[in-house]
């Protein structure tokens, strides 16, 4: 008998195994939903898949009679136009500040410990301050996301700079590189693939802050809708919205992973 750690599923079995937990989850839901609806046809907690399907159709392809808008797309657009700018801003700040802290000892002395402390301020606890100071607009929501994920990105980038072999920095100096050019030609290019990894890991926390901000102060957005229809126990809306948010996050994650492979062909080999 082979050891478990040596048993590799072949290609077709692998696909089957990948599908198993997904199918099992859906089947389990259907069984539970059927059981509850049998007991009470008015049950709202676990709506049937056909009810959910109808709701999805209504949200995505039928204009809302009151606002004349296709709610799913309007919400998605609103949420993404908060999430994506916030991610871009955070990643840019994380790269620049992280490289400076990681590479320049004086900057590390000034900002390193400060960042270590700052990164433990719970961003949600700052939300009331942001609302008071900046109002309830879009800026506040984007700012919350930026505050939420930037410290992580800065610290990760600074640590990755520290992981570069000292030999590289010495060699670069012996070739006549200035601090600026060493950052630009040696450090930043090697950090970019790590930056994409860090951005992938930030999507989860970013969504947390996004939904929190939308739940508290918003008129449109995926998180707003979920918290709005919660009052009517509209699980047929909440469940597809949750699945949709998850799917969007998964696509972003996969896109970043692909981007990393395409843009930095040396990266996997150099690991």
């Amino acid at each position: 008998m082979k050891r478990v750690i040596n048993i590799e599923p072949n290609q077709s079995l692998r696909w089957f195994l990948i599908l198993v937990p997904f199918v099992a989850t859906i089947v389990a839901y259907m069984l539970a939903s059927d059981a509850r609806l049998d007991a009470n046809a008015q049950d709202k907690l676990l709506p049937s898949l056909s009810t959910i399907g109808n709701t999805i159709y209504r949200l995505a392809f039928v204009a809302d009679p009151r606002t004349n808008q296709y709610l799913l797309w309007v919400d998605t657009f609103a949420s993404l136009s908060r999430l994506l700018p916030a991610l871009v801003i955070s990643v840019a700040i994380g790269l620049v500040v992280g490289v400076v802290i990681g590479l320049v000892p004086t900057a590390r002395a000034i900002f390193g410990p400060f960042m270590d402390v700052i990164s433990f301020v719970p961003p949600l606890s700052l939300l009331p301050i942001l609302f008071i100071a900046m109002g309830l607009g879009e800026t506040t929501k984007i700012l919350l996301l930026v505050i939420g994920i930037t410290p992580f990105l800065i610290r990760t980038m600074a640590m990755r700079v520290g992981d570069l072999p000292r030999e590289q920095l010495i060699k670069a100096q012996s070739l006549g590189g200035s601090s600026w050019l060493i950052a630009r030609k040696i450090v930043v290019p090697q950090l970019l693939p790590h930056l994409l990894d860090a951005a992938r890991l930030s999507i989860g926390p970013a969504l947390l802050f996004l939904i929190a901000a939308e739940a508290i102060a918003s008129e449109v957005g995926l998180g707003y809708r979920i918290f709005l229809v919660r009052r009517y126990l509209a699980m047929d809306v909440i469940i597809p919205y949750v699945v949709w948010i998850t799917f969007l996050a998964f696509v972003m994650d996969a896109a970043l992973a692909m981007l990393q492979r395409v843009l930095f062909p040396w990266f996997q080999g150099a690991r």
Binding site: I170, K171, S174, L175, G176, P265, W266
Partner: protein, 258 residues
């Protein structure tokens, strides 16, 4: 470039790593520093590279104080991590020119770029990597990576080349090839080379002079000084210290000079 060390000491806290090293390396010499691991030979090289600071004593390069930072006069090849994994072989060699000729953007354009690429390709040819210009370091074998590291180092025209166990991780036959390359470059480019190695036969087959550091019979807490200094010629040794010259040394060195 002439290198003079005067009463050089290096302490790490209580530990004395190097003690009273005095030594003159003439322009064009190929010096091997040998000794057991932990004897301080790598520390000495790092001091020569301005990566570490000596605790006492001083170093003169052509009569001037050793600069506080690494610079273009002193090229270096390490055992590992000497090349940049995110750049192709050509881009690795190009880096010296980009650093020097494009101080703001670090990127060359037009005629400057073409001439820099031509030069880099020539250098890669000369180390036998003409066919591998577009490959990333991880696509090269260990020996090819070290040849690339050497090519990259000489591209900035250093006057001293510091080699820190650069052949340590190579197979025997690959080592021979790279040895031959280093000897050839040393003759062609008229470099001063300081090689750190723990391999006596390597030192014998490459260097014109072997300096052994430490070798105090493994006594603890005893700092390393120079314990032997073998010349191709019959120059006196610094500080009148013991000359360690096993029968093989002079013989093989003389054979090399023929």
């Amino acid at each position: 470039m002439k290198i003079e060390l005067e009463n050089l000491c290096k302490h790490f806290g209580e530990t004395k790593v190097l003690e009273n090293i005095s030594l003159t390396i003439e322009e064009g010499e190929f010096v091997a520093l040998i000794g057991p691991s932990g004897c301080g030979k790598t520390t000495l090289l790092r001091i020569l590279m301005s990566e570490e600071k000596a605790s006492y004593g001083r170093i003169l390069l052509d009569g001037k104080e050793l600069p506080e930072e690494p610079d273009r006069d002193r090229g270096v090849v390490f055992q590992k991590y000497s090349v940049f994994p995110h750049r192709t072989a050509l881009q690795n060699v190009l880096l010296a020119d980009e650093f020097q000729k494009a101080p703001i953007f670090g990127t060359l354009f037009g005629a400057k770029r073409r001439s820099a690429i031509n030069k880099a390709e020539e250098i890669l040819q000369s180390v036998g990597l003409g066919h591998a210009c577009g490959k990333y370091p991880h696509q090269l074998s260990g020996g090819m990576q070290q040849r690339l590291a050497i090519a990259q180092a000489i591209a900035s025209k250093p006057r001293v080349l510091l080699l820190d166990e650069p052949f340590g991780a190579l197979d025997a036959h690959v080592k021979q090839e790279v040895h031959a390359l280093v000897r050839k470059l040393w003759r062609d480019v008229a470099l001063t080379i300081v090689l750190v190695t723990h391999d006596v036969s390597e030192a014998e087959s490459l260097a014109t002079r072997i300096i052994s550091i430490g070798g105090h019979g493994g006594e603890k807490d005893r700092p390393s000084g120079i314990s032997g200094d073998t010349y191709l010629s019959s120059d006196p040794t610094p500080n009148g210290e013991v000359v360690v010259a096993p029968s093989g040394y002079l013989h093989s060195l003389q054979a090399l000079s023929n």
